[in-house]
């Protein structure tokens, strides 16, 4: 353990759906400011893992604690989000009928109640913050455009921007590079790297070039059949015989 403090600890978590063990005996720890990449073949439990962290599903057994001993299993989606955990979905989830600007405005950190929304006035500071975000996600020129008219990659970026607007401590990012060109993917990687330190991130990804880019010297976690297969630096994980076996299929690990 390093001197950095623990942000998230998942201990002995099990989750079963109709007899299918989606998550079994999962132990996962994340430090403050860390950027962790989670990889794993299809059905390894990556999405269920995010669902458990964000309150969408509850674990059958085990504990999930955030920051100074806050039990996440007792909270629902919006309560967990208000603690500072933001989630980007696998398929870009933006409000297609709203403009890019409105998408960010709706996501901006602030009161979330019905009456707060009813009497909301957008302040100059909020506009400035949205301008900053627009610049960061390179959508300044499209602020007035309905989000439904954005290209796929731009939607992904907008959703990352929406996540940042919430000013979260922890970002859960599900396949941010899906459907992006190589150049866009690279830029997304740079953005995520720049966020580490100030925020903590867990990134689920398939694209190995991208994983190598963002993992750098940090840890990569390999999920397999609902539990952790191995954890370590990208090169270590890549060289791990079990990982090769899982990814390439049995009997081919010798190759």
């Amino acid at each position: 353990m390093t001197a950095r403090s623990l942000l998230l600890s998942v201990e002995d978590v099990n989750k079963e759906f109709d007899g299918f063990k989606a998550i079994s005996k999962l132990n996962f720890y994340l430090d403050q400011g860390e950027l962790r990449v989670v990889i794993g073949p299809n059905g390894a439990g990556k999405s269920t893992f995010f669902d458990l962290l964000t309150g969408r599903t509850k674990p059958d057994t085990g504990t999930i604690e955030f920051g100074p001993r806050i039990d996440l299993t007792a909270l629902n989606e919006y309560e967990i989000n208000r603690l500072g955990i933001g989630r980007k979905f696998q398929t870009p989830s933006v409000y297609t009928d709203h403009t890019v600007f409105e998408n960010l405005l709706l996501s901006l950190h602030g009161p979330r109640g019905v009456f707060a929304a009813l009497f909301h006035r957008t302040t100059a500071a909020q506009r400035r913050r949205i301008d900053e975000l627009l610049e960061l996600i390179r959508l300044q020129d499209k602020r007035g455009l309905p989000a439904g008219q954005l290209a796929h990659g731009e939607k992904q970026w907008l959703e990352i921007g929406m996540l940042l607007a919430q000013d979260p401590q922890l970002l859960l990012v599900d396949e941010p590079a899906a459907g992006m060109t190589d150049e866009e993917t690279h830029r997304t990687g740079e953005l995520l790297i720049s966020l580490a330190g100030k925020h903590s991130l867990i990134v689920v990804e398939h694209d190995m070039t991208f994983v190598r880019q963002i993992a750098r010297q940090g840890k990569v976690t390999v999920l397999h059949q609902g539990s952790i297969l191995c954890e370590g630096r990208f090169e270590e994980v890549q060289a791990h015989p079990r990982v090769r076996e899982v990814y390439l299929g049995r009997g081919k690990s010798a190759a």
Partner: protein, 400 residues
């Protein structure tokens, strides 16, 4: 794209409508000589009053369906509850002028009630009945909405439940021992606030009140949908999970809108009842609520003018068709609904923009028209699409 349906012409259209509905129509009824072709008869005024209360009901349906994505198939329950609340007051205002010349309403004499049930007593006061028009539907919406939204009932399941709710209420109100007049309901009204309901002036007053309610409802919803709450509302419609995972308790927002919408429907019902002179359980039967959904679809969902246009158009059509082809009405209505869904998903209000787009495509315009309005980065225009964007999505009305 639903947002584009709000055109720059809307304020002008609403202003003209206000002038016509609040000025011209009552004026022609009052001042034009009965022989003149300009004269609007008392019967017509009464009919228009009914249409306008339906228009208010349609807005309440659209506030849920078009703006929040909640297809309620039980909105007439709230309409009827408002109608019953005011109807109770109207029953008690009959006094001894009923068939049995009793202090009790006729149906209570007929059914052998010894005295007025306790919950009827305060309805002698207009203010109490008026308050009940608001709080009773609001309370029903609160309880039902709380249970439904807390249990995350969405989509078609929500629609089915609302239909079941209104059906259950219909069956309850049909019962004689439910103290609301059974299947005959409440009728034979004589006075409202001391005015004789059979007088043309009273009916004209009710018509004007309904028109005012319509414009007040329009104004309220216009404001509501432009607030951040309105933005959250549409965001829930388009992507509820994103809203939920952004820290909004979507159930609270839906509950709030559901209650507002219930109260709007109830106010419409309260003004409907003295104009048609009767309220009975068939008013809350599921098919009535379905019809209201058809008005909204025909007029244009996700707009505020659309439901009004749809309610008036379909009901005017109904008035004509039930006289000209009485057996065919439900077939006409069904065909209309299917045609609109297939060929005009934006409803009647999207017709001008579509025709305009079609006309532009046919006529050889100069080639230098920008393909998409990308470059408008003016912060002032962020809450509304740039004017040039209006025509672009109109050719692609794929707004589900």
């Amino acid at each position: 794209m639903i947002r584009s349906a709000r055109s720059k012409w809307e304020p002008l259209a609403v202003g003209l409508a206000a002038f016509a509905l609040l000025g011209v129509i009552p004026g022609l009824n009052l001042f034009a000589p009965a022989a003149s072709f300009l004269h609007i008869s008392d019967f017509t005024i009464n009919l228009y009053g009914k249409y306008l209360s339906y228009a208010v009901l349609a807005i309440s349906v659209d506030l849920l369906w078009g703006y929040t994505g909640l297809l309620s198939l039980g909105q007439c329950l709230f309409f009827s509850l408002g109608g019953y609340a005011l109807g109770m007051y109207l029953m008690l205002m009959i006094g001894r002028l009923g068939q049995y010349h009793s202090d009790l309403p006729d149906f209570m004499v007929f059914l052998g009630y010894p005295r007025l049930p306790a919950h009827w007593v305060p309805f002698r006061h207009f203010w109490f009945a008026a308050a009940a028009v608001v709080w009773v539907p609001a309370l029903v919406a609160l309880v039902f909405g709380f249970l439904a939204f807390r249990s995350r009932i969405r989509g078609v399941y929500f629609s089915i439940l609302t239909q079941a709710l209104t059906y259950a209420a219909t069956l309850m109100f049909f019962r004689n021992d439910f103290t609301f007049g059974g299947n005959n309901g409440l009728t034979d009204f004589k006075f409202i606030l001391g005015h004789d309901l059979r007088l043309a002036s009273t009916q004209r007053g009710l018509y004007v009140a309904t028109a005012l309610l319509l414009f007040a409802t329009y104004g309220l919803c216009r404001w509501l949908t432009t607030t951040k709450l309105g933005m959250v509302q549409r965001a829930i419609r388009d992507r509820e999970n994103r809203v939920l995972f952004s820290g909004y308790a979507t159930a609270h927002f839906k509950l709030f809108i559901f209650m507002v919408s219930a109260v709007i429907a109830a106010l419409a019902g309260a003004l409907y009842v003295p104009q048609v002179g009767i309220i009975n359980p068939s008013e809350m039967a599921p098919d009535k609520s379905l019809e209201a959904v058809v008005w909204v679809a025909v007029g244009g969902r996700g707009t505020l003018v659309g439901p009004v246009v749809g309610a008036i158009f379909v009901n005017a059509l109904k008035s004509w068709a039930t006289r000209a082809y009485p057996d065919l009405w439900t077939i006409i209505l069904g065909t209309l609904f299917i045609l609109v869904v297939l060929f005009l998903p934006g409803g009647l209000v999207s017709l001008p923009a579509r025709l305009q787009a079609a006309w532009r495509r046919r006529s050889p315009t100069p080639p230098e028209t920008p393909a998409a309005p990308l470059a408008t980065a003016d912060p002032a225009s962020t809450s509304n699409p740039p004017p040039s964007a209006l025509s672009a999505p109109a050719g692609n009305p794929g707004s589900p």
